[in-house]
Symmetry: C2
């Protein structure tokens, strides 16, 4: 078994300004890849303060799309390839961080085209990446994964290069300004990462340590997802549970629910976390009962059904139409997500996972 | 709070041969730093197989002393500085791994003298280090610390450079050939690392996760230390608990018991783990009872006294003479080990820690 967390992680209030000097080691000029909300939640202002205090020049790209497509990476490569960028800072949710990793690859190879992102002969090289999450789901700040939308195959897919951020700066206070439905959906994404890492062929004593601590931390704040008020401590715990969940998937990878969710999001625009939430119950129904019981124990749910109803309430989940579910089901057949699934993946079982709510 | 485990860790049977190809990334010529026992326990043969299979040239230095002195580092620098070594492999217990880190620094700076090892202006640079433990105590394979004997100040002290091994390869089977008293002593060293990381001013949710998992893993095998037979699973768990304990001290650093132990070992030659064992009871007697109770719960001891008697039995501990204890006590006054101690460190308390058995 194998353990590796190459990213240096800091979690504290005012984390970005306090630890800004760490960014100097990556160079003198940064490209910030972010969306519009980072201006509203205070994170962009903090980052600009940190960079200025440390005499690091920077440019801001703030047009990150939700579920960014390959085309957006190429647009950024073309706009910034002559700017002598030393490192890339992904500031935002999974979309911004995943985009920043792909951009860091394509600015390292300024002459390469879009095909290079999905070239199996990757060298896993890029400009250094600093990741600053402002949601509590993706865990992308500690994973090597960058998921982009691919219109050519009508789904989302991870690029081939494995790019771990060198540094992750986590400050729960950014969640205070995050709309409740985003906190809720992203935190169900984190829950999904924990479930799919725990019910996973690659799970080891190392990954279980991280995953179990993730469940414990998540369970401390889960009830707050039903309310409207998050304390500073809740916010740190939401951020931390997503981070543990990221460390977990960095070792195990995600499984069937994430695979199916990509089809849901691509076809309906339903946010990623909510899409992931649809399939957790079905996945757990097919899993080893001993492992499932341990999850229930760690998270404080009395039964799988209580967990299912909780997710439905937190993400305001409605039924998906049959045609879409059929697409999800078909996308799983022969998918790479089957490799880490520890139970039989006959078509009958895959149907059970997909058609569960 | 802060989390960083830059070392890539593998733990499995036949780990060294299975993962030998990973060493190719560090260069074409290695220096193996080891002691005599690696020839006996099969680890040196495994390592040579792995290097040959991957066309990596190597030289073997197998004269590592227990608690290696600075002079030994300089002797190796002088013997191998013209050999164009690309990376250093520390194979053995803490002595071999710690020595390999210091050697990796001095071969990176072949023109520097011994003073450089304790120069505060270190750049933390060295040749890459691969660490292969053959005991179950030090955790040096995942820490940045290299402790050497310093005859000039009559104790042991960590070098200034912080050198994390790039790769750690753990195979519990080497413990099968390890004399029982070494397994016992080193595994009490690991227990001490866990205790001193848990009762520590720098403890965080991140470090506690690792420390608690270390206690859980250690408790699975602690009873076997009283017997004479270790199964393959016991061996892997002994190795793993020491590894968790290493990750824990990599974040927190050791505290009073380790500080006092250096004086004991320097003056009497009592092995490190046993020397560390002397002071665990005294340290815990002064600590926050809530944290102490959690340790008892995780390790399955009914009381601190049961834990104390267990350590006495496992390490065959006798009383230390008063004069030596007085030296230990005096060495702690003003020591850097006080910085991480979370309780008051008045002379009265320090006496309590030292004079406890």
């Amino acid at each position: 078994m194998f353990f590796k967390i190459p990213t240096q992680v800091y979690l504290e209030e005012n984390c970005v300004v306090k630890n800004g000097s760490l960014m100097k080691q990556y160079g003198q000029k940064a490209l910030i890849v972010t969306g519009h909300s980072s201006a509203a939640n205070g994170s962009l202002a903090d980052l600009e303060t940190a960079l200025k205090e440390n005499q690091i020049k920077y440019l801001v790209y703030d047009k990150t799309l939700a579920n960014p497509p390959v085309e957006q990476v190429m647009e950024i490569q073309s706009a910034y390839r002559d700017e002598k960028i030393d490192f890339v800072i992904g500031l935002g949710g999974g979309s911004a961080m995943d985009l920043s990793k792909a951009v860091a690859v394509m600015l390292y190879y300024p002459e390469k085209g879009a095909d290079f992102l999905y070239d199996p002969a990757t060298e896993n090289k890029s400009l250094p990446v600093v990741a600053i999450p402002t949601t509590c789901g993706t865990g992308s700040e500690v994973t090597a994964v960058s998921v982009l939308t691919r219109h050519d195959i009508e789904t989302k897919a991870a690029i081939t290069s494995r790019i771990y951020p060198a540094l992750a700066l986590l400050d729960g206070s950014y969640l205070k300004h995050c709309p409740q439905h985003i906190v809720n959906n992203t935190s169900i994404d984190a829950f999904g990462h924990l479930v799919e890492s725990y019910i996973n062929r690659k799970a080891t004593a190392f990954s279980d340590m991280v995953t179990e601590e993730g469940f414990r931390t998540w369970s401390k704040v889960k009830e707050t997802l039903l309310g409207e008020h998050f304390t500073a401590e809740d916010c740190q715990n939401l951020m931390l549970s997503a981070n543990y969940a990221g460390m977990a998937i960095a070792h195990c990878g995600t499984s069937l629910p994430h695979g199916a969710s990509y089809i849901v999001t691509y076809n309906t625009g339903i946010p990623h976390g909510k899409a992931v939430g649809y399939f957790q119950y079905g996945y757990l129904k097919c899993a080893d009962p001993a492992r499932v019981n341990r999850i229930l124990e760690l998270t404080g749910f009395a039964s799988l059904e209580e967990m299912r109803d909780f997710i439905i309430r937190v993400c305001k989940i409605d039924r998906l139409d049959e045609e879409l579910l059929e697409k999800c089901f078909k996308s799983l057949i022969g998918s790479s997500k089957l490799e880490v699934c520890p139970f039989d993946t006959s078509e009958e079982t895959l149907r059970k996972v997909v058609y569960s709510l």
